[in-house]
Subunit: 258 residues, 4 copies
């Protein structure tokens, strides 16, 4: 508890550089805005990494030193090296957290963790979105009211091809007639995954205080649990199982071991 | 499989008798409309029962002979005798199905099975409802497209105070800005429960062919499984457990321990 | 986070007074042993309440000031006043946590929250129990290895008639041939519930350091989330919904529909 | 319902050919034994496919004509062509069922659908296994008693690195001290997945009548649901949404918003 949660905010960082308007919306990049929000929270230390850095900024050292990854990507999912995805995947199954944002639904890491296509409906029409809380006691909604309202967002609609969440946290309403499971929680391996829908690159969503609060809550929720991790593979009889040994001895070879 | 699913459609049957307009909408009662829809489906045999019949129409014989209950109630939940609720509860935990419709969310039987308040938001404003399918492979949506649209319905909104569903089947969009988990599946005891939102008494919802299809699919899904049910209580060592007996004999101890 | 989690450990406290041997095992009562374990943990403040105190020690003040209840009962479930159960039930749905231990599976509060019989198989035979962790990343197992082993415990066996857990944390192995879902997590209302199996009154289980660690982890996990809680009932159009008002004005109809 | 469920039983079919004893246990291969069991059930038509056939016996035609796949593999998971795995994966997400047996937990198709390592503990020691039913109302346990007992099986133990099942059906007890979530159900895309543990190649498990019953029940449960499947991608406003068009016309704005 004394140790801060070390978050690495990963961003593709292409839209901001290619499109002037998006660049003006996020002058420090989407990653910069998200990290700024996280660093304003006690007990969280956020750094950033982007696609065009060496190893996408996700070196062995960075990955090993990350408690929770935040992932934003959109137009360049295919440019992410499979070997780096392997590395992050392994770290998550080993206990780290992952917060997948918006168009990150199509990232390699999220699709791999879900096992489904992660497809959805979408429309860019500056629609109003209302994210209704459906899990009122979950730590991810601490400090959040009955819903979060965003004046303008891209629409994402069902069917969203994801596994049934372990807990469903938010359901979004969109002005044009669609709904979306916009906050979904998964346990995978010893790690935790939170998908959170908002954050199209053309809107100021990641400066929104409630959105920042949710991402911060999720980072704390997704932090690794400190414990001896499971051992897999061929399993010897457990040494101190006295009744077991006794039984073995008496029966001369019968029983679970031989 | 050869045996038909025996459905008992239970209805409070008060609105239809007290309000002329509702009576005209459902001349044979809400139960009559639902049973008509069910009886048009191969392999289903539906009968009806109503609040003001002796024992609410749910005698021991009726309950014992019911595979799946459909439940519609609204203004008179409090008039339902606790002893009858006990009887239905026991039958459901013993393997029968329960389909709770619309304002039945506040019925004694549903609240008892859920353990929560089952509260929600509501508004009567002739709003458009769109029930989006979020579980595309579930048998309850057989024959149903991406969504069901109802021109006019009462709004029910989140937060809906229910346990996290075992599977979430539908999420509703409402014109006025709300969403609702409108189709939710639960296993309880050896029985199955499906909550399905639509069906305010002032609309013709239960004549809608898609709504009827969903209720019919749910009746088949919720039918009891034929098997020897679990035995509870003090458990003797299982007789044919040879290694166990041998061990017992050798150690002269009590039971399984030595 | 700065505020401690206020735990009320409730115990029936009958076995310890009626049976000399059990009294010697738990000289300060089962509640005393559990509270002692909790109070040794930073950030937790535990007090106790027992059946034979006025209002079972669960006055309005105590209940309102409790973040997490721990519940142990066995021979006197029927003596618990329904009005007190109502009070605790309401507080849990409003956000408090509940940790139900061992024979508390048959308590009124747990059965009411589950909606099922909560029946199970059992046998008193001083059997070895091994609680295997099946959710390696859940905060409840922080600091716990692959399994917890108890040399002697009462056997509880499947089928355990509970709803499918939101997350299953432990599965127990028993020497005599049974298994049991021995750690199970539920969200209910705005509250959280953890059922944890071990702790028969004749064993020293609640002095076991690992068992104490699990109960402490669970208390932290189950603590209320600080937020504005949902409002239920008739819902007016939300005031700042400008598009909605505009539409309303144009169509001269009521509310959201035209 | 009139149409039979078309099952393709896929088997690696290497152990039976390389090891004389295993070949004698399964003279028609593991696939032959499983298909024989399935073909004895009304409404199921099973055929087989094996690794060393062209395209592993899973041509486009076979895959398109399969409602439910059964998958057994062990020593040659790596020899399965990724392109064939793609084909089967796509078919499952599109609605087909998949029953993964025993060491198939490490198959490419199962790991891809789960997104986790699917690792576990194991031991070959001719141990007794007891599969306890924990979901008494699920159609997969139709006709099955409180548990299935197998005199000798390979041990598989927790932690089993899979996602939390949508429904947990069986939990196994093993003589040597381990437990295992041995029957687990998942919805993925429009398809359904059932993992079922028993069936080590050295035992006669697939001739066991109860094991055959479970596999048959699972085949019926996993059969595709007949319906129009979801459409993904860029979504136009829905044509018959009259209020939507009206609003659009009035505001002269783009799309759904004003």
């Amino acid at each position: 508890m004394a140790n801060p949660v070390r978050v690495t905010v990963w961003n593709e960082f292409r839209h901001e550089q290619k499109d002037e308007k998006i660049g003006a919306t996020y002058p420090n990049g989407i990653h910069g805005a998200i990290a700024e929000g996280l660093n304003a929270i006690d007990g969280i230390e956020a750094t950033t990494a982007t696609l065009d850095e060496p190893e996408h900024g996700l070196t062995e050292e960075v990955v090993a030193g990350t408690d929770v990854f935040v992932w934003w990507g959109h137009m360049a999912h295919g440019d992410v090296d499979d070997a780096i995805v392997d590395r992050v995947h392994k770290r998550i199954l080993g206990g780290a957290g992952l917060i997948v944002l918006h168009s990150g639904h199509y990232s390699k890491i999220f699709r791999r963790l879900m096992g489904t296509t992660c497809s959805l409906k979408w429309r860019e029409a500056d629609e109003r979105e209302r994210l209704w809380v459906v899990a009122p006691g979950h730590p991810i909604v601490e400090g959040i009211g009955p819903y979060i309202e965003l004046d303008q967002e891209e629409m994402y609609g069902e069917h969203f091809d994801i596994p049934e969440p372990d807990n469903l946290i938010f359901v979004s309403w969109f002005q044009g007639g669609e709904v979306f499971r916009s906050g979904a929680v998964y346990y995978r391996g010893a790690g935790k995954v939170f998908y959170f829908r908002p954050g199209h690159e053309t809107y100021t969503t990641y400066f929104n205080e409630e959105i920042r609060k949710v991402i911060g809550n999720a980072a704390r929720w997704a932090a690794p649990v400190s414990r001896e991790m499971p051992v897999y593979g061929n399993s010897d009889p457990i040494e101190d199982l006295s009744w077991y040994d006794r039984k073995h001895a008496i029966t001369e070879g019968f029983g679970p071991t031989t």
